[in-house]
Amino acid sequence: MLEHRRRLLCAAALAAAAMTVAGGTSRPAQAADKTVISCAYSETYVFDNEDLTKKWWGGIKADFEKMHPDVTVQLVPIQGGYDDIVNKLSLLYRSPATAPDIAQMATPTVDRFASSGYLLPLDKYLAKTDWWKKFPPVIQGEGAWQGKTYSVNTGENDSMLYYNVDLFKKAGLPVPWKPTSWNDILAAGRVIKAKLPGVVPIWILAGTGSGDNTVLMGVDTMLAGSSTPTIFDEKTQKWVVDSPGLREVFGFYHSVFSEGLGAKISDLFSTSGVTAPVFMIPKNQIAITFGSNFYGGNWSKLVSTPYWPQAAQVAAVVPVPTVNGKAPNISTTIGGWDLAISATTKHPDLAFELLDFMMNKENQINAANWAGFVPADTDYVKDPSFINFAAPYNELSAVVLPYGVIEPPSGDYLVWSRGAQEATGALAQHPNTTVDQAIGILSDYVKNQLDPSQTEVLK
C-alpha cells in the first residue's frame, strides 16, 4: 500500500514537472506571431510624476503598435532613484535574455554602458535622420565613445539663478536684477539677510544628501564659470583636486555659510534637497536660488507640484554669471537622459524606428514639458508649445543650454563628486572651515579612493 502511494506521488510529481516545463516553453499564439521590442525606462525618477511617465510611455506604445500591428512594445519600468536605475540596467544588460532593446539612461552613464559592450553604435541610422544634425555639438558628444555614437539625448537639465521679485522689492533691491559676477550674488544676499530675517538669502546645495545632483547644481555649475573650469585634465588624464577655479568656488561657499547666508543644513543635507526649493520659493522662504530648469514646469497646472499661478510674476530667472563677468557670462552644467539600443537586439532596424518615433517633435516636446527638460533639438526649443508651457523658464533654459558643460563621463568622476560633496558639506556645517581645508577634504578623498598619482594641482 505504501509502495503504491509512493508510485502515485512520483507519477503526480512527474506530471506536475512536465506541465511546468510545457507551460514554461509554450507561449500564447498571438504573442508568438508578433515581434517584441522591449523598452526599459525610469518609472519614478525622470518624469515629474508617475502619471506623466505612464502617459508618455503608454502613448509611445499605443501609437507605435497602431503603426505596426505586428509589433508589441513591451514596457519595462524601473522603480527607484538614480542609482537604482543604473544598477537595474546594469543587471538587465548582463544577460542578452534580459537586455532591453531600448533603454533610457542618464547621459553620464552612456560611456560606461558603451565601454561594457552593451550598446549598439547608431551612426549609420543617425546619418539618415533630419533631427540629429540639429543637436548642439556638446549634446551630440554626450553619447559618443571612441569615435562612435551610442545614444541619443531626449532632454537636458541645466542650471539657472532664481530670485524672488517680491522679496527683492521688500529688501529694496533693484528689479529686474542682473547679477554680473558672484560678488553681485553675495552682495544681494547680504542685503536680504539684513532686511529680511527668516528668509534664506542664498540657496546653494551642499553635502552628500542629494548625491551628485548637489555638485551638478552647485560646484560644477560655478566651476564652469570660474577661472579654471577643468575637473578632469584630458591631457594628463588626471583629476584636478586643487585649482584657482576650485578655490574661487569654495571661496563663494565659504562666504555664503560663514556669513549666515545659506540654508539650514537639515534642508541642504536632506535627500529631498534637490526639490526643496520648488516648494520653498512659492512660500517666499528663499530669495536667491541656484536651481535647475525644471522648477518652472513643476509650478505649471499640468504638473502641479505645487501649482503656482503667480510663478512668472514672483520667481524671476537669470543665467548664473561667471566669477567676474567674463562674456558670455553664463555658467551651467548640463545633464540629461538618453535612449540607447542594446548591442544584442535581434531587431536593430525596428528598434531604431521606434527610437526615431520617440524623437519626433510632439513626443520630444511632451517629454520636455512633462519631465522638466530642455529638448536637444534646436528647432523644438523655439516651439511655442515648449516656450509657453513654463514661461519664462523654458525660454531661458534653452538660451543657456549651448553653453553647458558636461560632467566627465568616467566612473571615477563619482569619486571626485563625492569629495566635492564632502567639502561643501563641511563648509556648510562648520562655517569656520577655510578654503584650504575644503580643498584638503576634496584632495584627500580623491587621493584615498583613487591614487595620488591620478590627481593633479592646477596653478
Binding site: S115, S116, G117, G425
Partner: protein, 294 residues
C-alpha cells in the same frame, strides 16, 4: 551515555535525510559566500570594460583595503555603532525594561511590553523615518530644547545608536525576560533573608544566574546590528562627512554608487568575517550553556 554514543555514530538514513538541507545550504549559502570572496579579489565593475570581462587581480584589492583610510575609519565606526548601540545600549535598556516589567502591575506590563515589541517589529524603514523626523530640525527632539537645532546632523552617530537601541530593545527585553523568569525564587528569597539589598541580590545572584542568556542576547543583537544597513542608510546615508559610514554602507557605496563591485565585495567579506566570529562565539556560548545545564 548510550544516547550520546548513538547520536555521535554516523547513521546512513539520518545522513540521507539531511542531504537536501546540506545541498540547499551549499547552493544557496556557502556557494554565494565563497563566490563573494572570489569576487572580492577581482576587478569586476558594475559597468565598463571589466563588467563582463573581469579577472582575478591577486592581492590588489587587499593592498588597497589596507591603505584605505576610509576603510579603517569605517571599521572603527562599525565597532562604535555595534558596541554603543548593541552591546551597551540594547542590553542595558532591554534589561531595564525586562526588570521593570517583571515588577510592574499586570496592565502596565502588558502595555509597555506591547509598545516595545511593536517598536521592534516595525520595518527598519519605518523606524528610520520616525527617528529622522524626530531628530532633524523641526523634529520633536530639537523642539523640546526650544531651538531649531539639528540634533541628527550635529550628533549623527549618537542619534543612529539611539534609533538602533529604540528599534532593537524589544527583542532584548523578550530574551532577558525569559531569562529572568527562569531564576529560582527561592535563591533570591535566600539572599534577601541573608540581609542582602535588592541591588545586591540583582547584581550578585540574578545576573550570574542569567549570564548565559545575557551573553546570548549580546551576540544575537550584535549580529542584528552588524547587518543593520537600512536604518543608517535612510537616516544619514553614512554622512555627514562619513560620520556614520559603517562597513555595510561603505560596501554599498563602493559597489553600487562608484560601481567598483570587486572592492565592494571585499568590504562585504570583511563584514562576513566579523559576523562569522560573533556567530562562532554564539555557538560556543550556546553549547557551553547546554553543557552547564546538563
Amino acid at each position: 551515555m548510550m544516547e550520546g554514543d548513538a547520536a555521535e555514530k554516523p547513521d546512513g538514513v539520518a545522513f540521507l535525510l539531511l542531504l537536501p538541507t546540506v545541498i540547499l545550504l551549499l547552493a544557496l549559502f556557502v556557494g554565494p559566500v565563497l563566490y563573494a570572496f572570489y569576487l572580492g579579489l577581482t576587478n569586476i565593475a558594475l559597468m565598463g570594460p571589466t563588467a563582463r570581462h573581469f579577472h582575478f587581480t591577486g592581492m590588489s584589492n587587499l593592498h588597497r583595503l589596507v591603505h584605505d583610510s576610509l576603510f579603517w575609519k569605517s571599521l572603527k565606526l562599525t565597532a562604535i555603532f555595534v558596541a554603543a548601540s548593541a552591546i551597551v545600549g540594547v542590553t542595558v535598556v532591554g534589561m531595564a525594561l525586562a526588570v521593570l516589567i517583571q515588577h510592574a502591575v499586570a496592565w502596565l506590563r502588558a502595555a509597555v511590553g506591547a509598545i516595545v515589541v511593536v517598536a521592534w517589529m516595525l520595518p527598519p524603514l519605518t523606524a528610520a523615518l520616525i527617528w529622522y523626523a524626530f531628530s532633524t530640525t523641526g523634529g520633536t527632539l530639537s523642539l523640546l530644547g526650544g531651538s531649531q537645532a539639528d540634533v541628527l546632523n550635529t550628533f549623527p552617530m549618537f542619534v543612529v545608536c539611539l534609533a538602533n537601541i529604540w528599534a532593537t530593545a524589544g527583542f532584548s527585553m523578550l530574551v532577558l525576560s525569559a531569562g529572568l523568569r527562569s531564576v529560582p525564587t527561592e535563591v533570591l528569597e535566600a539572599g534577601r533573608m541573608e540581609g542582602a539589598s535588592r541591588w545586591r541580590v540583582f547584581w550578585s545572584l540574578t545576573i550570574p544566574i542569567i549570564q548565559p542568556t545575557i551573553v546570548t542576547n549580546i551576540l544575537l543583537v550584535t549580529l542584528l546590528s552588524l547587518a543593520n544597513f537600512s536604518l543608517i542608510y535612510i537616516m544619514t546615508g553614512g554622512g555627514p562627512g562619513n560620520a556614520t559610514n559603517i562597513l555595510p554602507i561603505y560596501s554599498y557605496q563602493q559597489a553600487l554608487v562608484f560601481g567598483k563591485l570587486g572592492y565592494g565585495a571585499l568590504l562585504g567579506d570583511v563584514v562576513v568575517i566579523i559576523a562569522t566570529i560573533f556567530a562562532y562565539l554564539y555557538v560556543r556560548v550556546s553549547r557551553a550553556t547546554r553543557v552547564a545545564a546538563a
